[in-house]
């Protein structure tokens, strides 16, 4: 199978407190070197808690945030943003907040027209036909086109957001928490729609979420992010069922499940990004932490078969 997307040692460092001249007051590493492969037609799920770098990673992939170092390859070619139209036809993004991703002062038709005109040069009848086709694909009624974004519920607005991303006819869709703002009954509608569209249009998905169960339900493979680093990757059915990294296990054990007793009220927190610890970032909360962990950063390496963990003392299955 060919690779749709490949990142090699992708990093992002943000400057905090920029000054007019001279270096910034501080720097925060939002994404530590991340190397990921996504095969064509695959759904790679990315989970992690807020602030762990999920969105920064996603925004680098679509060119909204320039990486500090590292490379991105799409379908075997180095990412090239020289021609925005060509780039937009490769990869698109679906935003978390469906309502805020639509300009409140434009009608849905005006919003839908932009990518079709600018990326595909469609005009007139062809433009109208394509919009109708896209709206049909996301199960929206054509009369919605003349309305304004505030007239829609979250689920409908998210369908519009998906239709706009599809308008570019991309090969890869980055879905950044696409259902987090939706109610469960509507969330399932959107997730099933995404699954249908994927087969229909032959798409590759990068699905980002903080909801483990949702990620597990839609992904082929899952990457777990902690404090800017990938700490575990593996097949979806294994990662939470048999976690190898202690953090993945903590995540899986924290998800509220009917009938499971509540855990103890420990109060572990993320390390301070302005003052990151040496060694493993999870050591402060990890029951297995050793001196080695507090000294050396663990590398991501194969634990068993296609399951990888960045841990000095991975869990046995």
């Amino acid at each position: 199978m060919t690779l749709a997307l490949k990142t090699t040692d992708l990093t992002k460092t943000f400057d905090i407190g920029k000054r007019l001249i001279g270096p910034p007051r501080a720097q925060v590493r939002a994404v530590h070197p991340v190397s990921l492969d996504v095969k064509t037609g695959e759904t790679l799920g990315i989970v992690g808690e807020s602030g762990c770098g999920k969105s920064t990673l996603a925004r680098m992939l679509v060119g909204l945030t320039p990486p500090t170092s590292g490379t991105i390859e799409i379908e075997g070619k180095a990412l090239d943003r020289a021609d925005p139209a060509a780039f937009g036809r490769l990869i698109q993004y679906v935003f978390q907040d469906p309502v805020s991703s639509l300009n409140p002062r434009k009608t849905i038709r005006q919003i839908m027209e932009v990518p079709l005109r600018l990326l595909h040069g469609l005009r007139g009848r062809a433009l109208d036909a394509r919009i109708a086709e896209l709206f049909d694909a996301v199960n929206l009624r054509p009369e919605f086109l003349t309305r304004y974004p505030h007239e829609f519920s979250g689920g409908q607005a998210q369908r519009i957001g998906i239709a706009r991303a599809l308008a570019a006819s991309p090969r890869i869709l980055i879905l950044d928490e696409p259902v987090s703002a939706l109610d469960v009954s509507v969330q399932a509608q959107v997730l099933n729609l995404l699954a249908e569209l994927k087969t229909e249009f032959n798409l590759t998905y990068l699905f980002i979420s903080h909801d483990l169960a949702v990620v597990e339900a839609v992904s082929d493979r899952i990457a777990v992010l902690y404090f800017g680093s990938v700490v575990e990757t593996g097949p979806a059915e294994k990662v939470f069922a048999a976690p190898r990294h202690p953090y993945t296990k903590l995540l899986a054990d924290s998800a509220p499940v009917v009938g499971r007793p509540l855990g103890g009220a420990q109060s572990g927190e993320l390390p301070d990004p302005l003052n990151p610890p040496p060694g493993c970032a999870f050591a402060g909360r990890c029951p297995r932490a050793s001196d080695l962990c507090r000294r050396d950063v663990p590398e991501l390496r194969a634990v068993e078969g296609d399951q990888f963990a960045a841990c000095h003392h991975p869990l046995e299955s």
Partner: protein, 620 residues
Amino acid sequence: MSLFLRLLFRNRLAGFGAVVLGAIVVLALLTPVLPLHPPNATNTANRFLRPLSEGHMLGTDHLGRDLLSRLLWGTRLSLAVGFAAALIAGLAGAAIGVIAGYFGGRTDNVTMRGVDMLMAFPYILLALAIVAVLGPGLLNALIAVAVVNIPFFARNIRGVTVGIAHREFIDAAKLAGMGHTRILLTEVVPNIVPVVVIAMSTTIGWMILETAGLSFLGLGSQPPQADLGSMLGEARSALITAPHTSIVPGVMILLIVMSVNLLGDGIRDALDPRLRSGALARPMATTRVERASTPAPRADGLLRIDDLETQFQIGKRVYRAVNKVSLDLRPGECLGLIGESGSGKSVTALSVMGLVASPPGVITGGAVRLEGRDLIGAPYELLRSLRGRKVAYIFQDPLSTLHPLYRIGDQLIEAIRVHEPVSHAEAHKRAVRLLEDVRIPNAAARAKAYPHELSGGMRQRVGIAMALANDPDIIIADEPTTALDVTVQAQILALLSDLRRERGLAILFITHDFGVVGQLCDRVAVMYGGRIVESGPTADVLAAPAHPYTKRLIACVPELGAGRRVLAAIPGLPPAVDDLPPGCAFAPRCHKAQDACRKGEIDLQGAERQVRCLFPEMAQ
């Protein structure tokens, strides 16, 4: 647009301003065709004629020129210059603000420092300096007034633009292939136009005054040309002997500036989105109550809600957010209230202590009895003394109850001392103990932190500590963990569970997450479209949901460990509570719906296990 005009004229003063300004503008426009004396024709024989003289309605000035004519021509000029200055300042300031705000970074830094420098000069001094450099003249005065006002616009517009530039639809536009120029023109600018209009309408009066000021000092319009400022300036020497020469232009300036400012304030209010939502009035201290009768108490308990009805009355629409909801909370019990967004969970919770904003909220029926005493319609003083001491709230966003500018320790001390007259030292000791109780590490040191210095989880712990400050019997927690990460959520839930056992708290726990209910709550009530559709012991409801909605909602929740799959979904959307269908609110989405479901009221049936459905799942 018609909404805008309606809002504008609802404000009487703005309407008055509009009429006065309209009359002045019409007069100024008509000036060239009115039968007036030439404004600059001197006639020293007729100097200082009093108003109402033959042929000179407003009299004449020191050169015998007709004051009425000069006044109208002068008004015309002053208005034109004022509007032009406002337009130039507005457009230039907006352009600077938009560019600085959109591009950010170095562009922003450099331009805004420049603007700050301009702002550091006293206003009139800067204008004087500009005129001194350019030389006197009306056009130069206009430029000066425009320039000194640019920073005000630039600052305002930059702030708004920064907010817009970080919205997701700007990113979406970039990905759709738009360049910066196109984004600025089609995405950013349309969203800031209202702000520019507001800023212009509130400053144009001052700009007219400033131009008049420069002309008064002889730096603006040059003789013999009349504008309001220069007329005042020339009249100054005759202030005592011929006061009318000063009074005439003075009154005109007063009228213009007053009417412009009244109208400007009106425009600002009418364009303000917060006021558009309907409420122009000040919120009341407690929720308004319009209750025909009080239901008889059914049984006693710690907190009993009987047939509670809360509505939002907005214009002609009535949103039945809470529709005959009954709940009872027993001592030491945790009752879950679950439902999708908009189902009325929060409004139910807020109605208990009269915290629903009025207007537009009104409690139209039912009773809320705390230890047998009805709280609906209770005086504000009583409710206030019970808030915190008997019933405390925890919200999804702890920042809504924490003041951003005070240290959390001080806020806890304050909360303790509101209800109990203890010394500061004693209160401090208790505050630290509370922080320890909610498992905040290093409590004494953390008490000195400001809310923004804490992570989301720590802040929610502080929110819980605030709720516990006066040892309440009941905690109403409205989605306290929805904004938190799973690992932090697990910590907070465990904490609430421990506290409940240690202190014998009764908790009304609002959530949309069945997993959370299953872990924490003894009993659960399911809400849909403002009504309770099912309730009972948590284990029973989750294991064998009786209402089709509950059953299908539970099926929608993906469970960890079930692998990759197609998820169950409920077609359609939850109903809008201003337009509920007759009969069962779930009927349009229910696969079991019969004609009977769409007629008449369906009652909640059962005792410990209740369901509001004609064909409940158990009957299968």
